[in-house]
């Protein structure tokens, strides 16, 4: 008898006496139990298909997804178009990572964000010491409907963030080789306060700027004396040969990595630098953990670990 058979028998016996765990599934939620996905822990990812308005939330800890298009929820996107952004909102209490679903025709270059420019603003809510993702509707930010000062202030802060992003975009575009065009980008924000004996000075590290070009290559820049400089060898993401901003996303993953989503390949790429150079560490087919037939065009994601990142004070 093969050893595998012996083990299989023992496993079966173990299961029969109740060693195995059980899982329950709620409405619109499925458990991924056939194979371990092993996406980075602690992340809530939102995938959105701007062509069909389908929208799913995926929790990397529980490895479950949920359909977000529920009529009663503020984040219902049924029949709507939009684009997702991640915004680390600095408040007096700390950094509150948020996911904002803007209208897909919105541009910060045409003016500040108003309630008319967004569908929802989501973040973690806490109830009975349990965190869950929830969203505020656009109406809650409407001054005509008595939006609070706090909420209007949040929109101003969001606008400031988007303006800053536009400045960075121009800087990166300038730094790219002439043969390349910028598709998407992400900038790490590593201001670590080092408390020293006599002073409380801030040491600013060279902040990596990750740039994804329209040809699917990844460039890494760092601040130099005369502007951004290439920090390492550029590389391509497997299978990515073209990129549009509306069909790609880059979100932070810890202090030293990003998750890049490409609608072209329907893959999620982990690019990190646990040694020296950023590189494609792993990749996941979206179809491994989201429903069959769902082909998102956009991704946003937040995790609790990002709350520990220290950003520029705005």
């Amino acid at each position: 008898m093969k050893l595998k058979t012996i083990w299989a028998g023992m496993l079966l016996a173990g299961l029969m006496v109740g060693c195995g765990g059980t899982s329950t599934s709620e409405n619109n939620t499925q458990s991924e139990s056939s194979a371990q996905i092993d996406l980075p822990d602690g992340k809530t990812l939102i995938f959105f298909d701007n062509n069909t308005s389908a929208q799913y939330l995926y929790d990397t800890d529980s490895e479950t997804y949920a359909n977000m298009n529920i009529e009663t929820e503020n984040y219902d996107m049924t029949g709507k178009n939009g684009k997702l952004i991640v915004w680390n909102h600095h408040t007096a209490a700390g950094v509150d990572p948020k996911i904002v679903m803007l209208r897909d025709d919105f541009s910060i270059n045409e003016g500040n964000v108003t309630h008319n420019d967004l569908h929802y603003l989501g973040h973690f809510h806490e109830d009975n010491n349990e965190k869950f993702f929830a969203a505020h509707s656009a109406d809650e930010f409407d001054p005509d409907q008595n939006a609070s000062e706090k909420k209007l202030g949040a929109l101003d802060a969001l606008s400031a963030h988007l303006y800053e992003q536009e400045e960075i975009r121009m800087e990166i575009e300038e730094a790219l080789p002439s043969s390349e065009m910028l598709c998407n980008f992400f900038v790490f924000t590593h201001d670590h306060d080092h408390e020293e004996a006599d002073t409380n000075e801030t040491e600013e590290e060279a902040v990596p700027h990750i740039a994804l070009t329209t040809s699917g290559k990844v460039y890494v820049f760092k601040e130099g004396e005369t502007g951004l400089e290439e920090a390492q060898v550029s590389f391509s993401l497997n299978g990515v040969t073209e990129c549009q901003e509306s069909e790609s996303s880059i979100i932070q993953n810890g202090d030293h990595g990003v998750l890049i989503f490409s609608a072209q390949t329907q893959k999620l790429y982990l690019v990190d630098n646990h040694g020296m150079d950023f590189h494609e560490h792993s990749s996941w087919d979206i179809s491994r953990f989201l429903p069959d037939g769902f082909t998102p065009t956009d991704l946003a994601g937040i995790g609790e670990e990002e709350e520990h990142d220290h950003e520029h004070e705005e």
């Binding site: 060898v233 391509s236 993401l237 040969t241 646990h274 040694g275 020296m276 590189h279 990749s283």
Partner: protein, 699 residues
């Protein structure tokens, strides 16, 4: 028809022909002289056979390296308690052949030191070491060939009736132990044989500290069915399945472990005679080997090798004074490799788009001069190999002269569909990197055994050996998780060539005192080994992704030489038998360009005293291992150590069978013993003090 099918068909034809042809033979009365199966310690020979149980009694561990490391010139390249590939006279990896019967073991232990040998030593009936002309029958290995022989390789049926041999042991340090059960039933014309082995061990201690991730679990089952078709023909069918799971005690914070499994099935046809051929042994085997490498439970590496082989060995008597051994082998194996963080629970075919092949790799090559890759480290490969070998021996009154030769022809076909597009070798770096190649290697060996007097015998062999570089030595370009290193293969490696001179001498001073001397001198014109890659300033180069040291595959001129001395004294005082032996090993490996070869065993000496009385056997051994003196450039220093072992065994004859109880005390002084030839010497020293107890019942 595919090569695989062709080989299967050839195997079937060959085996049928053996059986049919054998039936037609009119047997005469032939005295078949069996080769000696017992180790004769006071003898020198090109082939030395060891009873596995005797090796097990003296062994300090469970690996093949542990079993053989008491032999002159043999060390174990340990990598935790689960891994210990033998090194012989300074030869490691691909320079030492490990075969089951005659077929090279289908594992990847020669590829990397973290990969365990694909068998448990305890499962073999006998272990044989072949060197010089005798080893050429199985391949071209400077360190010779270690053959593990199972029941299927015996040219006779098992002892008639029911046989049972079972043992159980426990280890005070690792809390667990071993279990082995061997049962056989044989009648006049058939036999059934089953051998089961299990080894479990928690992490061990060294110097009072636990060595993390040094646990192991191994299980193997081997079954043989044999029947005598005619008085001349014996057929044995066998099946074997093995599973092994072991931690890698490396320096990573996350646990690294390996899950290995191997299945083998085969048929062996033994013909006493076939025409003018004698002792014909024809074997067909298919086997499937697979291992996963995990980090923190993530499947980061996957290796799979499927192999099938057809081989036949036979003897031919030329005249009264001359006989020859022949061996033919057809072998095919297909190796698949996956190495990607968390993605290697199965093999995948890489995406292909209209993007330029090898773009990221080219960028690194242009920037660093090295085509660094973060993709799968080597293409899948398929090897088809033909081996033809003979060993002719002519006997004189006081001499035996041997002449052996082999030819190995190999077709190697790389298949790059597993490599991610961006990490393919770029055309501008090497336009035909993934080319098929067919190469041949020819090796010769001349042996001379001479008895100078009744007391003094020498054995000399001079060999010219050619070894084809392995697929891994040619193609590997990437990180290896378990060894935390970046290996840079060399696609243009030439054959490894060497002249090997081995001289063994035995002086039987008196009936009780003997001296054995082994001298060896191996001159390589293209010694293939992994050396630390350094930049123009002599600084170690690190890979840009993990900051791991880069080890480069090099082929260079090198010389390895050494000697082994063994003194034995035995005396009987009434019913007490006292034995003493002293062993000394000296070894040096030098590069022609200056400097030393890394991971050469330091000088060492072992004193052993044995006492036998009635059913008692007591043994004390003390091993001294010197610090590493001849270190390669950038090789870390290793301090010497001492190892004091004691054992006592008592055998009691029962009315039905016998019972044996034993106790071993290992590393009594709890010395921190770092094995210089291990890649993991810093993080995985040899086990500290431990007490082992065992019981064996034979029926």
């Amino acid at each position: 028809m595919s090569m695989k099918s062709s080989l299967s068909a050839a195997a079937l034809c060959c085996l049928l022909a053996s059986a049919v042809a054998a039936d037609e033979v009119q047997l005469e009365s032939i005295d078949v002289v069996e080769e000696t199966e017992q180790e004769n310690e006071a003898a020198i020979a090109y082939e030395t056979s060891y009873d596995t149980e005797i090796l097990a009694e003296k062994s300090s561990g469970e690996t093949l390296g542990d079993y053989l490391s008491g032999e002159l010139g043999v060390e174990s390249a340990s990598y935790g308690p689960a891994v210990g590939r033998p090194t012989v006279r300074g030869m490691e990896g691909y320079r030492v052949g490990i075969a089951q019967g005659g077929i090279m073991l289908n594992d990847l232990s020669a590829m990397s030191q973290d990969h365990a040998v694909g068998l448990n030593a305890k499962m073999a009936e006998r272990i044989e070491m072949a060197k010089g002309p005798a080893s050429l029958l199985y391949g071209s290995y400077s360190g010779g060939v270690i053959r593990t022989l199972g029941e299927e390789h015996e040219g006779k049926l098992y002892k008639k009736g029911m046989t049972l041999d079972t043992s159980l042991s426990t280890n005070s340090d690792t809390n667990k132990g071993t279990l082995s059960i061997k049962a056989a039933y044989a009648a006049e014309s058939y036999e059934a044989y089953l051998n089961y082995y299990n080894h479990e061990a928690d992490s061990y201690h060294s110097g009072g500290e636990i060595v993390p991730d040094s646990d192991t679990s191994s299980e193997q089952l081997h079954g043989v069915l044999g029947w005598t078709i005619t008085p001349n023909t014996l057929i044995k069918l066998y099946g074997d399945t093995m599973e092994k799971a072991y931690g890698i005690p490396n320096s990573t914070k996350e646990r690294t472990d390996i899950l290995m499994e191997q299945d083998r099935y085969g048929i062996v046809v033994h013909n006493r005679t076939l025409g003018k051929l004698r002792n014909v042994m024809t074997e067909y085997q298919i086997s499937d080997y697979r291992h996963y490498e995990r980090e923190d439970g993530r499947y980061d590496g996957l290796f799979d090798q499927q192999q099938q082989s057809l081989s036949s060995r036979f003897d031919f008597t030329v005249d009264e004074m001359t006989e020859a051994n022949f061996r033919l082998e057809l072998l095919q194996n297909a190796l698949k490799v996956c190495h990607e963080h968390g993605q290697c629970d199965e093999f995948t075919v890489a995406l292909r788009t209209d993007a330029e092949d090898g773009l990221s790799l080219l960028n690194y090559y242009n920037d660093r001069g090295i085509p660094f890759s973060h993709g799968h480290p080597m293409p899948d490969t398929e090897e088809q190999k033909v081996l033809m070998a003979f060993n002719a021996k002519r006997y004189y009154e006081t001499d035996e002269v041997s002449l052996a030769a082999n030819v190995v022809a190999r077709k190697l076909t790389p298949e790059s569909t597993n490599i991610q597009e961006t990490w393919l070798m770029h055309e501008s770096i090497d336009p035909d990197y993934y080319r098929d190649e067919t190469r041949a290697a020819v090796s010769l060996s001349l042996g001379w055994w001479h008895s100078w007097s009744e007391h003094f015998t020498t054995q000399t062999s001079l060999s010219y050996l050619e070894r084809l570089p392995s697929a891994q030595e040619l193609f590997w370009n990437g990180f290896h998780h378990a060894t935390e290193s970046y290996i840079l293969g060399n696609r243009d490696l030439d054959k490894e060539k060497s002249f090997n001179l081995d001289i063994d001498a035995l002086m039987q001073h008196t009936k009780t005192l003997s001296s054995k001397l082994s001298l060896y001198y191996y001159d390589f014109s293209n010694y293939i080994y992994q050396a630390p890659l350094v930049d123009g300033s002599g600084n170690q180069v690190y890979d840009p992704f993990h900051l791991s040291p880069v080890w480069e595959m090099r082929g260079v001129g090198a010389t390895i030489y050494g000697l082994g001395i063994e003194e034995r004294y035995q005396r009987e005082i009434e019913e007490h038998l006292l034995s003493a032996s002293l062993q000394f090993n000296y070894l040096k490996g030098e590069l022609d360009e200056g400097g030393y070869i890394p991971r050469m065993a330091p000088y060492n000496a072992t004193v052993t005293l044995e006492h036998e009385y009635g059913g008692f056997h007591n043994e004390i051994s003390y091993k001294w291992v010197d610090k590493s003196r001849n270190e390669a450039a950038n090789e870390t220093h290793t301090e010497g150590y001492r190892m004091l072992n004691l054992s006592t065994r008592y055998r009691y004859d029962l009315s039905n069978g016998s019972l044996e109880l034993w106790l071993k005390a290992q590393n009594l002084t709890d010395d921190i013993a770092k094995n210089h030839i291990s890649f993991l010497k810093e993080t995985a020293p040899l086990p500290g003090r431990a007490f082992l107890a065992g019981i064996r019942y034979q029926y």
